[in-house]
Amino acid sequence: MSQLAEDAPSSEPAEAPTAAASDPSYDGLRLQRLTKSFGSGFTAVDALDLDVPRGSFFALLGPSGCGKTTTLRMVAGLETPTSGSITLSGQDITFAKPYRRPVNTVFQSYALFPHLDIYENVAFGLRRRRAKEVKAKVEAMLDLVELTSQARKKPAQLSGGQQQRVALARALINEPEVLLLDEPLGALDLKLRRAMQIEIKRIQTEVRQTFIHVTHDQEEAMTMADTVAVMNAGVIEQMGAPAELYENPRSTFVANFLGQSNLISGTVVSRSSDVTTVDMHGIQVSVPSGRTHVDGDRGWVGIRPEKVLIGEEGAELDAPGNTIPGGVISDVSFVGVSTQYLVRMPWGQELQVFSQNTGRTRMFRTGERVELSWRPEYAFLLDQAQDASAGAQRDGQ
C-alpha cells in the first residue's frame, strides 16, 4: 500500500509540489490541501490545510454536514482522500490502511463488539498487535475509566455512559499518536455529557496524547479543547484558542456559531494604525485594527450581547467611546443570573443585550427609552459581503 502513497503525487501533477514536500521535522498531524469529493459531485472537504500540534486537545467544530466527520474519517483511514495529503510526525499516511496507522477512533455509535466482553473489547487492539503484558495494561486501563468491576460483562449490559468509557478505553489503550473522537458524547444526556467532558479532559491531561474531537456543540468544544477549528462547508473558517475565537471572530459564521452576536451594518470612515472608525447609521464608533476583518468600505460592526451596557438616556455608562442613543426596549426576559433585553434601535434593527443581575442597575421595562454603549475594544468588524445570519443557531438555543 505504501507504493500507492508514493505514486500518488506523480499521478496528480495538479498537486502543488511545494505543499507536498512537507516539513519532515513537524511532529504533529498535518493535513495539506486535503479534499474529499463524493461521486455525486458533492465536495465534503475542500482543500483543507490544518496543523494539529502533538499533545494538543483539538476540536473540529461545525454544523452537521460541514465535513468535520469526513475529515476525521480520512485521518483514521476509513475514507480515501480525493486529493491532498495527511502526514503524521513527518510520515505520509494519506493512503495507509486504517490498521497500519497509529491512530484510533472513538466512534459516535461506540461500535463495541457485542460478542466480546468488556475486557476483550479493550484488549482487542493489543491482541491484534501481539502486544506484551496485555493483562496488566487492560487492567490499568479499566481502572482509569473505573470499569474494573464490569470487565466480564457484555457491552449490552452496560449503561450509555459506561459504554462510552469502554469505547474510550479501547482506543486509548493502544497509545495512539492521535486519538479521534467522533461526537463521542452525542448519545448521552446533558448531565452525563458534562461529567464525561470533564472526564475526557482529565484523561487527556494525564496521557498527553493528541486528541481530535469532532463536535457540533460549541460549548463542548470550548470547554474541552485548547484549540478549536470552526469548520463550515468543507473549509476551516477560523482556528484558535476558544477565548480568542469567541472574542475576535473573523467571519459572521464564527460570530454567530460560537455564541450570539449583534451585527450592525456600517461604513468605514477612516483607518489608522490602531483603530478603524465606522459610521453606523449616523453614529461614529471605533473598532481596534486588530479586530477589523474587512478590506472594503462596508462592514458589520459586531458586538457580543453581554458586552453591551444598557442605561437610561443621558446616564453616564462605564464605556467611553461608543454610545448609541435612541433605543426602545421591545422585550425583556429574566433568566436569573442575567436579564436579556431586545432593544429596537432608531434604524429598526433589534439588538440583544445581556445584563448581569449585579443589583447595581435596575431592570428596564418594555417600551422604556434607553441608551446602549460598549467599550470599543470589545467590538469587531466583519465583511458585509458575508451573510449576517450565517451560522446562527435556531431560536431557543
Binding site: P98, T105, F113, H115, R128
Partner: protein, 263 residues
C-alpha cells in the same frame, strides 16, 4: 365469561401448540407399537422391538444413510456458496446486484414440481439421463437450499452495523483478522440457522428428489414406497430420533444464546 375472556389468547395458543404437536406425538407413540394384525396404523400393544432393531426392514437404513449423506453434503455446499453470495449481495456494489437480489427469491417461490421437472429436463437434455442418481439429487438439493441460505445470512448481515468492522480495522485488525474476529462470529448464528434449515429441507424433500433420482432411493422415497404395503414401525423410530436431535440442536443454540446474554 370474564374468566374465558382473560385467558382466550392463552387457550388459543395452547390449542395451536396441540395442533402442531399431535402428529409428532403420534410418531413417538407409534415407534413403540406392535401392530400385531395387518393394519399397521392402529396401536396394537407396547413393544421395544422397533427400537432394538431399527435397521430390521430391508433398505430402511441404507436409504436413510443415502439421505443423510446427501443432506450433509447439500447443506455444506449450499451454506458455503450461499454465505459467500450473501456477503457479495450485501457488501459489494456490482452491476446486476438488485436483479440478483430478486432472482434469488425465485427458487423459493416456484412450485417444487416445476423446479423438479425443469431440472430433469435439463439433465436429460444435456445428456445425463443415464447418470441420474446421487449426484443429480445433490445438485438439485443445493439449488433449492441456496436461496434459503442467501436470504437467512443476508438478513443477518444487513442488520449488522458496519461501524463494527471499521472499528476492528481501526484497532489494527487486518481484513482477514476483522473477518475472523468480528464479522464471522457475528454472522455465525445466521449461518448456523441457514445450515439447519438446509439440512431439514434437503432431508425431507420428496418431489424434486423423486424426479431426479434415477435408481437411487432416499429415505422419504423409501417411506413413500412402503406406504402402499404398510410402513414399517421402525420408520417411526427414525422419525422420533430426528425429532429428538433437532429439538436438542435448537435447545442447545437457545441455551448458548441465553448464556451469552447472561454472562
Amino acid at each position: 365469561m370474564r374468566w374465558l375472556r382473560e385467558r382466550l389468547v392463552l387457550i388459543l395458543g395452547l390449542l395451536v401448540l396441540v395442533y402442531t404437536f399431535v402428529p409428532i406425538f403420534v410418531v413417538v407413540g407409534m415407534s413403540f407399537n406392535n401392530p400385531g394384525g395387518r393394519n399397521v396404523y392402529q396401536f396394537g400393544s407396547f413393544t421395544l422391538d422397533n427400537w432394538k432393531d431399527p435397521c430390521g426392514p430391508d433398505d430402511l437404513c441404507s436409504t436413510l444413510l443415502t439421505s443423510i449423506q446427501i443432506s450433509l453434503l447439500a447443506t455444506l455446499v449450499a451454506t458455503v456458496l450461499g454465505t459467500l453470495a450473501a456477503f457479495a449481495l450485501v457488501r459489494h456494489d456490482f452491476a446486476g446486484r438488485s436483479a440478483s437480489n430478486l432472482l434469488i427469491f425465485l427458487p423459493m417461490a416456484a412450485p417444487e414440481i416445476v423446479l423438479g421437472s425443469s431440472l430433469l429436463a435439463l439433465f436429460v437434455a444435456s445428456g445425463f439421463a443415464g447418470q441420474l442418481g446421487f449426484w443429480t439429487i445433490l445438485i438439485a438439493h443445493v439449488m433449492f437450499c441456496l436461496s434459503f441460505v442467501v436470504v437467512t445470512v443476508r438478513a443477518r448481515l444487513a442488520g449488522m452495523d458496519d461501524d463494527l468492522e471499521q472499528a476492528a480495522m481501526d484497532l489494527y485488525a487486518t481484513p482477514v483478522q476483522t473477518f475472523r474476529r468480528v464479522t464471522f462470529p457475528l454472522v455465525l448464528p445466521g449461518i448456523l440457522g441457514a445450515a439447519l434449515l438446509s439440512f431439514s429441507l434437503s432431508f425431507d424433500d420428496f418431489i424434486v428428489t423423486n424426479l431426479n433420482s434415477g435408481n437411487t432411493t432416499t429415505f422419504p422415497m423409501y417411506v413413500y414406497g412402503q406406504e402402499r404395503v404398510g410402513v414399517p414401525m421402525q420408520v417411526n423410530v427414525v422419525g422420533t430420533l430426528m425429532f429428538v436431535v433437532s429439538i436438542a440442536i435448537v435447545l442447545g443454540m437457545e441455551l448458548r444464546n441465553r448464556r451469552r446474554v447472561a454472562a
